[in-house]
């Protein structure tokens, strides 16, 4: 078991003939993901890695019945791509693209919410369920093994770091989700922790936060009230100076709010174990799951 993805996941890749789109489509297929169609306007009729390409999402949906859409198109076109997938009735959309103007994503977010569509990202690495050999996005498949840990993170490579450590101590993963480093994202920590709490295959939950916003604090409160599975967290950015954007558009300590320390304190107050460095998450989780 797992959340969001499973063996029946059928993926449409928007931007499949682009450099990133083509490269990651290939990796997804190699990992075992069922990529059923691609969309690139003007490329309808072509085939990429054995996958048929369509001019519009509506056509691709009619012909290939995907139930999950991946967006790997340039920033200026990405919000429109998400909107096209919503309009075509896809109800799980993963948007990898970084650098989308935040005012482009806001109306699309609200349209997704109104339509009951789950949007992951933007500016995220996607998600992976090792037990079903399915990944949607750019997470490296080789470091993952199936197992009982659900992981949710605002960061990409930091996730890989933690996953490697988990795998090294034999703790496999039910599902790993990167929710994205932008200020406005479709799915937040609480959404994912909630799903992990309800997922019978998930026995422990890892939350990897960073500076900026208050998603971690709200998640901590949710955990204190609603979650009985062990939770381990890591929060990046204790050493970050204020008012400076640390790579991610959303990673900024602004006007004294969104500090790592506040988030760490909130997690600790909620009974969450907080790791001092990324790899230590694995040790703490092992302890919590045995304890």
């Amino acid at each position: 078991m797992s959340i969001l993805l499973n063996g029946d996941t059928r993926v449409l890749v928007q931007g499949i003939t682009g450099r990133q789109g083509s490269f990651h489509t290939n990796l997804m297929i190699e990992y075992g993901t069922k990529v059923v169609s691609g969309v690139v306007p003007g490329r309808g009729g072509q085939v990429e890695h054995g996958v048929p390409v369509f001019n519009t999402v509506a056509e691709a949906v009619a012909e290939t019945q995907p139930n999950c859409g991946l967006v790997l198109v340039p920033a200026f076109a990405a919000a429109d791509a998400v909107d096209e997938q919503i309009a075509a009735g896809i109800d799980l959309i993963v948007c990898i693209t970084e650098g989308i103007p935040v005012l482009d994503i806001i109306p699309v977010y609200h349209r997704a919410a109104a339509a009951g569509v789950r949007l992951i990202g933007p500016n995220c690495p996607g998600l992976i369920t090792p037990g079903d050999n399915v990944k949607v996005g750019i997470l490296p498949g080789q470091i993952h093994i199936p197992g009982p840990v659900g992981l949710v993170s605002r960061s990409g490579t930091l996730t890989y770091e933690v996953v490697q450590a988990l795998t090294d101590v034999g703790l496999g993963q039910s599902t790993c989700i990167g929710i994205g480093g932008d200020p406005v994202i479709g799915t937040n920590f609480i959404d994912c922790v909630w799903m992990f709490q309800d997922d019978p295959a998930t026995e422990g939950i890892v939350v990897i936060g960073e500076i900026g916003g208050s998603d971690e604090e709200e998640c901590a409160e949710f955990i204190a009230n609603e979650v009985n599975k062990p939770v381990v967290a890591f929060v990046a950015g204790r050493a970050a100076p204020p008012e400076k954007r640390m790579g991610h558009a959303g990673a900024i300590v602004s006007r004294g709010s969104g500090t790592a320390q506040a988030k760490i304190d909130a997690f600790r107050a909620a009974g969450v174990s907080v790791a001092d460095f990324p790899a230590d998450v694995a040790r703490l989780m092992k302890e919590r799951m045995q304890g």
Binding site: P140, E210, R238, E243
Partner: protein, 377 residues
């Protein structure tokens, strides 16, 4: 992207917001001339890309041109939170009966443009948030349709304004939200929005931050970028698609991924070291980008050692290794290198480093300890 008050005032004026007359001076003599021309009491205000200039002595009232010149003399060259004042504005002073805080921001939680207002104007909003959070009135505008008039009126009445003032406030608040939408701003702020003894509302200060991801579609705004917002290396990094922030320490850092880069800084500090920079070379970085990143890091003379921390996912370790080796061979400046390299094509990468005589670690914490020892030795 941050811009100066005088630039924000021009944007506000163009949007129809009531901004009193003001002009920019670069010298005390220019300040005197402007004050003479305005022929009224003026305020001389430091133009710096940070807050806190009031506390730093960067804002002074002047009753006449003499006083304006003297004020500019004192303010120009001031250090405000690390920024040296190079320009001031000389603005008509207004009689003030009431000060209001008014700001519009793109809000993460409500996924909307949030209008924030407080009757405790003139104070920074984070101060109000700490001392009297209940004094902040918030209302979420739909960015597609803008702030509704009734939303603005409701805030105005809650601020305790009378009806003629609410009508002015309605127009101002809606224009401020529209400014955020039209300019792709992440923040547009008037602090204080004052009410004169005659009951007129005026925007006495102006602040606008632009969403960096949207600057590409506003060529006119891109031209407003101020060189002092970034250091030279920060600009070079941005132009090469690399995220770089200069810090005070001596350990140069090169990392792939923002989260991993942040946590490297954390682990360095935790082990008693001081990072010289934040640097995310980006996902899927190739040898060239790694070489450019190395150049940017070494531009900082405080850097005594470079710590490379790569977890290859999309990024391939052999590409990184090639870039690192090229940099050590081609760049004029050499410092000790500590490398941690794992993930995709790790074996090939380690081989390349080994051939160039560079040792590598598998564990991040080990690499950090070696680096910290390397600079404190």
């Amino acid at each position: 992207m941050k811009i100066h008050e005088y630039q924000a005032r021009e944007l506000f004026s163009a949007a129809g917001l009531p901004v009193p007359d003001a002009r920019v001076a670069r010298t005390p003599a220019e300040a005197r001339a402007i004050a003479a021309e305005l022929d009224v009491p003026v305020v001389v205000k430091a133009q710096v890309l940070t807050g806190g200039r009031g506390k730093a002595g960067g804002v002074k009232l002047a009753a006449d041109p003499d006083e304006a010149e003297a004020a500019a003399e004192k303010i120009l060259g001031l250090d405000v939170r690390g920024y040296i004042v190079e320009k001031v504005i000389v603005a008509m002073a207004s009689d003030i009966a009431t000060e209001i805080y008014l700001g519009a921001i793109v809000d993460r939680q409500s996924r909307s443009v949030l209008l924030m207002a407080s009757a405790e104007g003139g104070v920074e909003i984070e101060e109000i948030a700490k001392t009297n959070p209940a004094a902040i009135i918030r209302v979420a505008a739909d960015p597609a349709t803008g702030l509704a008039s009734h939303q603005a009126r409701e805030v105005g009445f809650k601020l305790g304004l009378d009806w003629p003032q609410v009508r002015q406030f309605d127009s101002i608040a809606r224009k401020l939200v529209q400014t955020v939408v039209d300019l792709d701003a992440s923040l547009a702020e008037i602090n204080p929005l004052i009410i004169t003894p005659d009951g007129e509302l005026r925007a006495i200060d102006a602040k606008v931050n632009i969403d960096d991801s949207a600057v590409f579609r506003h060529p006119d705004l891109a031209e407003l970028r101020n060189p002092e917002e970034e250091t030279g290396p920060e600009r070079e990094a941005r132009e090469n698609g690399i995220s770089y922030v200069n810090l005070d320490g001596n350990i140069g850092c090169m990392v792939n991924g923002a989260g991993l880069a942040m946590s490297l800084l954390d682990v360095i500090q935790l082990n008693g070291g001081e990072p010289a920079n934040f640097l995310d070379v980006g996902g899927g970085a190739n040898a060239d980008q790694v070489r450019t990143a190395m150049e940017i890091i070494l531009d900082d003379p405080a850097v005594e050692l470079v710590l490379v921390n790569i977890f290859g996912g999309i990024t391939r370790c052999d590409d990184v290794a090639k870039g690192v080796v090229a940099a050590t061979q081609e760049l004029s400046r050499t410092v000790p290198l500590v490398v941690r390299l794992v993930g995709t094509n790790e074996v090939e990468g380690l081989q390349i480093l080994e051939e160039a005589g560079i040792a590598a670690h598998r564990d991040m914490v080990d690499a950090v300890r070696v680096a910290v020892a390397g600079v404190t030795a």
